[in-house]
Symmetry: C2
């Protein structure tokens, strides 16, 4: 194969880089730390966006757009937030270039075009948005404001990795304003649930919901909720965060409202975001040494059909049949591609679409056609089955289901289907559904097998070094101990899980009393 990639066991990190490049999700750019999202990767992002955007709108949110730049004086208004992001800020200082008098054809900054006030390229938009909400909110009647924004943001990074950590990335950021603390808390938890729902049910990646410790909180937040996922190398990845901001930004920007009793109060806030980083999580959670494995719900292509032919006559016959199949699949909203490119051999195409993680591949040859046969191959399990139909419509009656060697779940779906005829397109539909479930279950099995309790320091280090994954351990609740553990083990508290059991225990580092286990891991 021309597109070989490093295996996971040889070098997981290199495997990831190879895979992202070879599957054409993304490419490096000429700009330090910035990436190019290639069409295949961007289509994946569009599918993710569409699903998320619908969920946001179904929960009452609307989209808007705020400026890319934040004047420095606004940026520094909420001090904790400003301090948290100060080290990562790209700063615009000039607004004009001019011809370089020393160097024909080259340009230099025009020193006369220096900005009076520097502009920060937004690393996040709380400052610009809350300075605006001040003008939009007077009374409880103006609340809640439930706005989301799809945008690019810049956080300067010294060590970057495609999707996982880039200086510019794409994301959505929700910024809501509420009349009461309860409502804002409800909102921030609701949006965490939306994220968990999306990541589990569309991306097929299981997550653990919890709260961040004070150390790990978003700069300026009162409480940060998060979802944490586990990659195949046993390293954790934060997949989304939702922040309860209290009245911090309202106070920094003096945003007050009169409530129903005509009393003046500061407005309550939340913010929440997920980014193109999720694509990195998706790649690392499911894929293998042959390439991507993508969940059907968001895969750019769900089915690829590859013809095998010796001459034009054969190709034409196959094409005719395939066009019928495609028509049926499109009626089921299945994203399908027929790759009839003459320049590439079937074997090359098989490898190419495996690399790209297309969930189902159909192969049809001239002989197959005569016998009403087609091969279907699953990307997730690598299973291949040749289906032999009863007639040239590529379907069979329900009584002959014995022919089918599909799995239990698919057989059950076919039985539950009330039609007497089972067609190829229905088998494809059910198989795609089964792939979606299967890769989630596989990732969940791995994840569940990698949550381990540690009861003392040696166990803790041993688990992190050898078994990897999440380690559930008692912690004394202080920031100092958390810092010390991080320093010694390179593991951080990923979250205090919502479902953590209240019980007595002793901190793995200090032995001091602890009332619950928290979730540690080394993380991306």
């Amino acid at each position: 194969m021309s597109k070989e990639i490093t295996s996971r066991s040889d070098d997981y990190s290199q495997w990831y880089n190879d895979l992202v490049l070879k599957s054409e999700l993304a490419d490096y750019s000429a700009v330090r730390g910035c990436m190019i999202i290639k069409p295949y990767g961007y289509t994946l992002w569009e599918n993710m966006q569409a699903a998320l955007d619908k969920m946001f709108k179904d929960t009452g949110h609307v989209n808007a757009y705020f400026p890319l730049f934040v004047p420095k004086s606004l940026f520094e208004a909420e001090e904790a937030n400003a301090e948290g992001f100060a080290k990562e800020c790209a700063v615009v200082t000039h607004y004009r270039l001019k011809a370089d008098p020393q160097n024909k054809g080259k340009l230099i900054i025009d020193p006369e075009a220096k900005l009076e006030e520097e502009l920060i390229v937004r690393p996040t938009s709380e400052a610009i948005i809350w300075s605006t909400y001040k003008n939009w909110i007077q009374s409880y009647r103006d609340l809640p404001i439930l706005i989301n924004q799809w945008a690019n943001v810049v956080r300067w990074e010294m060590r970057t990795r495609l999707f996982l950590r880039t200086s510019e990335f794409l994301w959505q950021e929700g910024h809501t304003a509420h009349a009461t603390q309860e409502e804002a808390l409800f909102e921030s938890k609701q949006m965490l649930d939306v994220y968990a729902d999306f990541v589990e049910n569309f991306m097929a990646v299981p997550v653990i919901k919890g709260s961040k410790t004070a150390n790990e909180r978003f700069a300026g937040a009162v409480e940060t909720y998060c979802i944490e996922a586990l990659m195949q190398d046993g390293i954790a990845l934060q997949a989304g965060t939702s922040h309860f901001l209290g009245q911090n930004f309202a106070k920094a920007f003096d945003v007050k409202f009169t409530d129903k009793n005509n009393k003046l109060d500061y407005v309550w806030a939340t913010s929440w975001g997920v980014s193109t980083r999720l694509i990195g999580a998706l790649v690392m959670a499911h894929s293998d040494d042959d390439g991507l494995i993508l969940p059907p719900k968001i895969a750019p292509l769900q089915v690829v059909i590859i013809p095998v032919y010796k001459n034009d006559e054969q190709k034409n016959l196959i094409t005719q049949k395939v066009n019928e199949i495609i028509k049926e699949l499109k009626q089921l909203n299945i994203r399908v591609k027929f790759d009839d490119n003459n320049n590439m051999r079937p074997g090359w195409k098989f490898a190419e679409y495996e690399m790209k993680g297309v969930p189902l591949r159909l192969t049809i040859g001239a002989r197959d056609l005569e016998n009403n046969m087609i091969e279907i191959a699953r990307r997730d399990t690598k299973e291949k089955i040749t289906l032999k139909f009863e007639n040239e419509n590529f379907d069979f009656s329900i009584i002959n289901l014995g022919y089918l060697k599909l799995n239990e779940n698919i057989n059950r779906k076919i039985e539950e289907d009330n039609s007497n005829i089972i067609s190829l397109q229905n088998i494809i539909k059910y198989t795609l559904e089964d792939i979606q479930v299967n890769i989630f279950n596989r990732a969940k099995e791995f994840r569940d097998a990698h949550i381990t309790n540690a009861n003392n320091w040696n166990e803790f280090i041993n688990l992190l070094d050898n078994k990897t994954g999440f380690v559930n351990a008692y912690w004394d609740g202080t920031a100092e101990t958390e810092e010390k553990i991080k320093e010694l083990s390179k593991a951080t508290i990923r979250c205090v899980p919502f479902n953590a059991v209240e019980e007595e225990g002793a901190c793995i580092l200090t032995g001091k009393p602890s009332n619950k286990r928290v979730l540690f891991a080394r993380a991306y």
Copy 2:
């Protein structure tokens, strides 16, 4: 009404600003020259994006994302392009802030975090994209590349206006690469046709297609094609451009390919873009002194339903009926809102949705309900009709069409409808279609009445000053004359229309021979 705006006749420019703010399309921001696109305006943009994006994909294009920043050395590689945009560039010079030692809680630029090479915030992406295409293109097999990007760009502006001219704006930019000149020329004209189709058939704004003169060309282009629209004040607005870039960028970035005969050649390029500026055109082309008038195809809301009631019992009965109506409308994919807010009176709501340009308003009172009646009011013509149906399902049999006092077009559609029953939802659907056509025809009538031939300088100036609009006049074809005309009249050559007739004439300024009339106007 609380939301009064300046009338067009008093001050067209102020009318526009008032309208954009009061209809809640956009707001000023704390950042000089940058705007906030509010949820109502952004929903409009989303509808425009969806229609355009589908057209791009239907013509074989895919979306991708390239970095926001362009290193100065890449930016200056294509010299004409760099020179053209140099005066409008926001420049990032530093990547970190630090605490201000003089001023607690404030931040300053960290002088140690100066970039080795300045980064330009993209004013357009040819440079960053063609420096990338160099790595993607070796052979004719890699061509064509048909990529579009939805993105924000920054062009520093001294005098800004909401939507029409802002330092940051949202747009799409197509960047394609081709093996032959013919193919690139075909692409750039095809995309101009796509733009014209979109602007005329979705935005209901008639346009004239043509070529820009050398003076007005995109910096770095060999040929710029454009669509030009006319606003209600007789001022022209460039609504979209498509550029044939020749091999200029391929040469600047050394992008060569081997053709089928194994010969090495530079790649041919196009780029094309439309922006949120189109929203400004939409507002100015159709709206009136009471507010926006939006074409149904892209209006955020197509129908608003307003109940008139005296008590909860009446409101409940109305709500029950309205919910049935909404269900039917949603099945036709009609975007509908029921405004049953108790805090506002119907009169306030009427004015509010007129301001927001909702194409159709339905009003239903308790008495109406008893009599199977509902009032429908068109935003474009201000016509109001009370429909009396034969039964409580709000429909009537085809034989009783005489009751309907709708216009000819709608009556014809109803007759062509093959059902025996005409329902409220069908009447709404046909009326929305009629509104779309009507506002296009109205704008076209105005535009056509404002294209006038001028045969000498006095006529030319007189037309520009008094009649306004497009003036069709002979020009001697030189850049000097074009400059001089612009200086004396403030009018520019909007385009050399594709359909201009070849004929002998004398330049209005110099009297020198000319072979066709070109289209002059004062422009936004």
